[in-house]
Symmetry: C2
Subunit: 412 residues, 2 copies
């Protein structure tokens, strides 16, 4: 790992100086190499899958591990999309003259060396590499051992793509060893690694955050809420509450608790229950919910904290926006929360008072996503407050330094 770290640090210095042209050329060269290597990649993936089946990996894990032509097409297309994104590096903001005569502004620059630790999905290898490369960083990628042959095949395409474009091999390094101690070393080399981004389940992220000696951009849980205010348009309320829960169950921006303002609970809850029943969603309600929907299971304290990632929904009847905001503050995970309302003042209050990475008015929580937000791509969703908050795109992989332009000025 020391050796990888040194190579990454040296490559980061070179990448910082690399113009947009060669970076895009490398991304497109990787796409070409991947097109040529499709058969080898599928074969490597088949070997990973066979080994996974033998060692008894569960079906969900095997599904995430599997590549097919469609997924490889998406990987190739993704490279072209990242090449088409504007290069954030070198952008200068707010350059203004000061009374001393100097001009001061901020220039966007790469973070340096980014370590990414992820689980079974091999397409993350390419996605992470392309975003780090475009943003002028060097990266060290550590994927799951179950995907090692797929990752090695992808790494070969990345390496030749870099060399085709005249960029240093060290700009993207895929850790070959499956030794778990390698992760421990990677997250404890502040001299070589500027930031760690773990992608995966909560336990992986918690362990890495606890043990890391370099900054971590982390994505913990998404206990997301929709609050249906008394002034909500009933059709918007129904559409959003159903979409936020049922569009996909396993994603972090899926609603886990629905809060309903008391005056409209009797009108809305039966219609919602019918829609949820059509999707097979199990309902767990507070006492007031259960007087309207007796079929709901009684919700416990744990339900308000739960990230179900499953067709289960907690429902609570609340008295107005203060109770809704207080519930979100107490039980939420500060990921994404939405209000449905037609009241201007309440919309403004909800936006100001809810301290989450995404706060929405009259839209489904499922929109909390780098593509939907127009970032072009995302490397994850940060639940941290510092640096990057919410979906992290190319900009989140950069930082800003001050630049000062003078004509010989000295400080008096």
């Amino acid at each position: 790992m020391e050796r990888l770290g040194q190579a990454a640090r040296a490559a980061a210095t070179a990448m910082r100086r690399t113009a947009t042209g060669p970076k895009n050329a490398a991304l497109l060269a990787m796409a070409e190499r991947l097109t040529d290597a499709r058969a080898e990649l599928l074969a490597a993936n088949a070997r990973d899958l066979a080994r996974g089946r033998e060692s008894g990996l569960d079906a969900a894990l095997l599904e995430r591990l599997a590549l097919d032509d469609g997924r490889i097409d998406a990987m190739i297309e993704g490279l072209a999309q990242v090449a088409a994104l504007p290069d954030p590096v070198g952008e200068i903001d707010g350059l203004r003259s000061r009374p001393s005569g100097i001009q001061v502004g901020q220039m966007r620059v790469p973070l340096g060396v980014i370590g990414i630790i992820y689980e079974s999905r091999p397409n993350v290898t390419l996605e992470a590499a392309s975003l780090c490369l475009k943003s002028g960083n060097a990266c060290i990628l550590r994927g799951g051992s179950e995907a090692r042959e797929s990752n090695a095949a992808i790494a070969a395409c990345i390496r030749t793509g870099l060399l085709d474009a005249g960029l240093p091999e060290g700009a993207v390094q895929v850790v070959a060893t499956t030794d778990r101690a390698a992760v421990g070393r990677l997250i404890a080399m502040p001299e070589y690694v500027d930031v760690i981004i773990p992608r995966g389940g909560k336990s992986l992220i918690e362990r890495i955050s606890r043990e890391a000696r370099v900054p971590v951009i982390k994505h913990l849980d998404g206990v997301c809420h929709v609050y249906l205010d008394a002034t909500a348009d009933p059709e918007k309320a129904l559409a959003i509450a159903v979409n936020a829960k049922t569009h996909r169950y396993g994603t972090c921006n899926t609603m886990e608790t629905l809060l309903v303002d008391a005056p409209v609970a009797e009108a809305l809850l039966p219609r919602l229950a019918e829609a949820y029943a059509g999707h097979g969603v199990e309902l767990r309600g507070c006492e007031r919910t259960r007087t309207i929907l007796p079929e709901a299971t009684p919700a416990t304290e744990e339900d308000w904290q739960a990230e179900y990632l499953a067709p289960v929904l907690a429902i609570r009847v609340v008295d107005g926006i203060d109770a809704a905001v207080a519930h979100i503050e107490r039980y939420g995970s500060h990921h994404t929360d939405a209000i449905v309302t037609e009241h201007y003042g309440l919309a403004r209050r909800f936006m100001a008072e809810v301290d989450s990475s995404s706060v929405m008015v009259n839209a489904s929580t499922r929109f909390a996503d780098g593509f939907e937000y127009g970032l072009g791509a995302e490397i994850g969703i940060s639940t941290d407050k510092l640096h990057a908050r919410g979906p992290v795109g190319l900009e989140g992989l950069t930082t800003r330094k001050y630049i000062v332009l003078g004509d010989g000025q000295v400080r008096r």
Copy 2:
């Protein structure tokens, strides 16, 4: 500390919702209270000083601890200045429409609860409180035990100022205990504290960074360079090289190593040496420097890494910008580095290639400062790459969350 943490968390929720008016009113009320309490504050400070002298504190520490009418005037004036700064909270950037019909933007919001740990200077208590308050945060302040009576007197003014304006007392809490274990607890309560800012010597900051369980915005050393390129205007080169070293010795943005391009070393070094001699600056030079300035002490490897904070300067003759940038990359602390040049391309290269929090062309490194940059105030200079880099003003005490405005949109 638990109790302080809980009170701060509750106050942070209230402060997040507080408009600019009451925040400014509290700042101005504190200024009034301080004006009225001037005699008590001077008396409390005199007791701190007497105790400090008895316990044998050194002269520099006593100097930092001492308050007089001038320093109290500056504190009062500082409150008015912070009140006059624009409020960063609620500012919305980049709101744009997406193909789905939602509008997405970013809103600037407070970080939450900020813990600040500092040493002897009692005026930091008021400065830190005013910046955290204006940026909508709650703060817990832990000053040095040698300043405890001064800090208690200032805390009383802060508390009554908060109450005068109807803001919660918990918005600014000054830790009364001088128990060192309190610091250990403060930096390990992620449930109550969102970020720690240590202000003080390197050993304090290193210890806190090592032990903290919440994010730290840190300011480590300033090993700053000025590189005099062969194309530099000699008068600008002399003015900047002399100012960057001699304007003040103990500040982090003071130049510690001067790099001189070989073709101009013979012309510039004797003139520089004469100017430095006039200021009593001791020179330590590389071998090439010493062939021109035989009176310079031979520089060792340690000199290239030294943050002297004293009238001592290391000088190295280098071959062009590549050698200069390589030296800065290897030995610098990524704080502030400047080039003096009249060459357009070299100015651009230096700005792009030097990875420091401030990079300057034809200006003295001494300008790296929140006031000089127009931030209005600064709580410190960050040498971190994530979140805030360089001087940290009100904006560095905030973060941005995504806001989504819709009309009932759901994800397809």
